[in-house]
C-alpha cells in the first residue's frame, strides 16, 4: 500500500508507529527519500494528521496511516481537513478494540469511518479492499478521489490485509508534476490574491453556506462514486453482505454453500461510504434474507437495514475482539436462514 501511495504521486507521508501498520511506515521511511518525497515519523498521530493538513494545504499528495487507537487521535484533525476542504489519504489498518484491545484483525471502526468519528457534518470517502492487489488499486484511487473532490479519503483495511502477503502487480507510477494544478493551494501569493485555508467561519450564515456547498459535493460523490461487487447473486435466495477481508472469507463460504445446493450470493461494498444502498434495495426485493457478516458487534448492518427496509430478513453474524470468522462459521450461520 505504501508503494501504491508513492506510485499515486504521494510525496508527503507523516505517520507514527503502531502495529499492525508499521511495515507501511517503514517502507515510506526507506523509499520516500528515494523519490524526493517527505517522510516524517511524527511525535504522535495528532502531530501526523496536522502535518498532513499543512502538507496537503501546500499542494502535495499527502498520506498518513495508523491503526484504530491512532486513528481515534486523528479525529479532530480529520474534521479540520474536511472543514478546510483538503484532500488527504488515510489508511486505517483496523485492530481489535475498544481501547488498546489487541492487534488482531477487526472491523470495529466502520461507524467511525463512515458516519464521522470527528465532530461536525462531514464525510470521508471510505474504500474497503478485500485483497492485497485491490488495496493497491484502491490506494491509487483514493488519491484521485481525494484531489477530485477535495475530501479526506480513508482506506479501511484490517489486520488481516495489513499483514497478509499476496503477489501484486503495480500500476504505472503517476508523476506528481503532471497532476492538475491546485489553484487553491498555499504556494506563496505571487501574482495572485492570497490563498487562505481555514475551517473557521464565525458567522453561522457563512459557515452554513460552506457546509451546504460541501454537502452538495457529498451528494455528487454519492451519485458517482459508489462501488461494489456482486457475486453469484443472480439466482440467489440468500445473500451475505460483507466488506473487506470478511468478504473474501464469505466468498469461500459461497463456494461451499453452492456445492451443497444452497443458492447463496455475496454483495461486497467496495465504497462503504458512499454506501451501495440501491443494489441492496434491489436485492431486498427478491431474496429471503441478507445476512451481514462483520468482525464487530454490528455496524454496517445498520446501513444494510436502511437499504432493506424490512423487505427481507436482515440477520447479523459478528465476531468480536479480533476473532476472525472462518468460511465454515459463515456457512453454518447461512444455513440457519436457508430453510
Amino acid at each position: 500500500m505504501a508503494e501504491a501511495g508513492i506510485r499515486a504521486g504521494c510525496r508527503a507521508y507523516f505517520g507514527y508507529p503502531i502495529t499492525p501498520q508499521n511495515e507501511l511506515l517503514e517502507y515510506m521511511a526507506a523509499h520516500m527519500p528515494k523519490v524526493g518525497g517527505i517522510f516524517i515519523q511524527a511525535e504522535s498521530e495528532v502531530a501526523a494528521i496536522n502535518m498532513c493538513y499543512g502538507a496537503s494545504a501546500a499542494g502535495a499528495r499527502t498520506m498518513t496511516s495508523s491503526s484504530s487507537p491512532g486513528i481515534s487521535l486523528k479525529m479532530e484533525g480529520i474534521s479540520y481537513l474536511a472543514g478546510a476542504d483538503l484532500p488527504t489519504v488515510l489508511i486505517n489498518v483496523v485492530r481489535g478494540g475498544p481501547g488498546l484491545g489487541n492487534i488482531a484483525p477487526a472491523q470495529g471502526d466502520y461507524f467511525q469511518a463512515t458516519k464521522g468519528g470527528g465532530h461536525g457534518d462531514y464525510r470521508m470517502i471510505v474504500l474497503a479492499p478485500a485483497t492485497i492487489p485491490e488495496s493497491i488499486e484502491l490506494v491509487m484511487l483514493a488519491f484521485e478521489l481525494a484531489d477530485r473532490y477535495r475530501v479526506p479519503v480513508m482506506v479501511l483495511a484490517d489486520g488481516m490485509l495489513g499483514q497478509m502477503m499476496e503477489p501484486v502487480l503495480f500500476p504505472e507510477p503517476v508523476d506528481p508534476a503532471a497532476l492538475p494544478a491546485k489553484p487553491w493551494a498555499i504556494t506563496g501569493a505571487r501574482g495572485r490574491r492570497p490563498n487562505r485555508i481555514s475551517s473557521y467561519f464565525l458567522d453561522p450564515a457563512e459557515l452554513s453556506a460552506r457546509n451546504v456547498k460541501r454537502q452538495r459535493r457529498y451528494q455528487q460523490i454519492e451519485e458517482q462514486e459508489i462501488r461494489y461487487e456482486e457475486h453469484e447473486t443472480a439466482d440467489a435466495t440468500l445473500v451475505v453482505a460483507a466488506y473487506g477481508s470478511v468478504a473474501r472469507i464469505a466468498r469461500t463460504a459461497v463456494r461451499m454453500a453452492r456445492s451443497e445446493g444452497i443458492k447463496l450470493g455475496l454483495l461486497r461494498p467496495i465504497t462503504v461510504w458512499p454506501f451501495p444502498y440501491s443494489p441492496l434495495r434491489a436485492l431486498s426485493r427478491r431474496v429471503d434474507a441478507i445476512l451481514t457478516v462483520e468482525m464487530n458487534a454490528g455496524q454496517m448492518v445498520e446501513d444494510v437495514r436502511l437499504a432493506v427496509a424490512e423487505r427481507a430478513e436482515t440477520p447479523f453474524y459478528g465476531k468480536l475482539g479480533g476473532l476472525v470468522p472462518t468460511p465454515k462459521d459463515i456457512l453454518r450461520e447461512v444455513k440457519r436462514y436457508a430453510s
Binding site: 488482531a104 488481516m160 499483514q163 503477489p167 466468498r251 468460511p327
Partner: protein
C-alpha cells in the same frame, strides 16, 4: 486443490518467518499465495502462528479451518492444532521440544529434532529452517532450491546476510532428515 499450512510455535522460534518464506517461495514458483500471521504480543513473546495458502487459482479465504499440513515447533502448538489437520495431512513435530507423539493415526507424522539439528550446525535459532526443510520434503510442493533462493533474497533485503549460510545448511539438514 489448495495447499494450506499452519506454522506454530513460541514467539522466538521464527515460525512467522518460516511461513513467510514458504509463501514467498510459492509466489516465486508461480502460485497464488496468502500468508497470514496471528501474533501473540505486538511483535514478540507468547505463542505465535501463521497460515499459508498456496493454490493455482485465486484464493478466497486466507483463514484456514483445516490445514493440510502443520508444523508444530512446541507442545502447546501441537495440542492446539493437531485435531484441525485434514485427514491424510502432514504433521511436522519438533521433537527437540515436543516429547509426545501425534495422537491421530490418520495423518503422516514426521518427528524432527529441529533444535538439536540446528544447534549442531552452530545456530540454535535456525530450528525453524530445519523444520521448513523437512516440510518441503514431506509435502513435495516444490524443490528445496526455490525455498533457498527465497531465503537468500529475504535475508539480504533485511540486512541479515551473515545468516544466509547457516540457514541454507539448516534447510538442507531438515530436508535430509525426512
Amino acid at each position: 486443490m489448495d495447499n494450506t499450512f499452519i506454522f506454530a510455535g513460541f514467539g522466538g522460534q521464527g515460525v512467522i518467518l518460516a511461513g513467510k518464506l514458504l509463501a514467498q517461495a510459492g509466489a516465486d514458483y508461480g502460485l497464488e499465495v496468502t500468508w497470514l500471521p496471528s501474533y501473540g504480543p505486538e511483535m514478540r513473546g507468547g505463542t505465535a502462528n501463521c497460515t499459508v495458502v498456496l493454490s493455482d487459482e485465486p484464493i478466497g479465504s486466507p483463514v484456514v479451518d483445516n490445514p493440510s499440513a502443520l508444523v508444530a515447533m512446541n507442545l502447546p502448538s501441537l495440542e492446539r492444532f493437531e485435531k484441525a489437520v485434514v485427514e491424510a495431512g502432514t504433521v511436522v513435530v519438533n521433537s527437540s521440544l515436543v516429547t509426545r507423539r501425534v495422537e491421530r493415526n490418520d495423518v503422516t507424522e514426521l518427528t524432527i529434532p529441529a533444535n538439536d539439528i540446528a544447534a549442531s550446525l552452530g545456530n540454535p535459532r535456525a530450528a525453524n529452517m530445519v523444520a521448513l526443510g523437512a516440510l518441503v520434503k514431506a509435502t513435495g510442493i516444490f524443490p528445496l532450491d526455490i525455498i533457498k533462493r527465497a531465503m537468500v533474497r529475504m535475508l539480504s533485503d533485511k540486512g541479515s546476510g551473515k545468516l544466509i549460510e547457516v540457514n541454507e545448511r539448516a534447510l538442507e539438514a531438515g530436508y535430509e532428515a525426512v
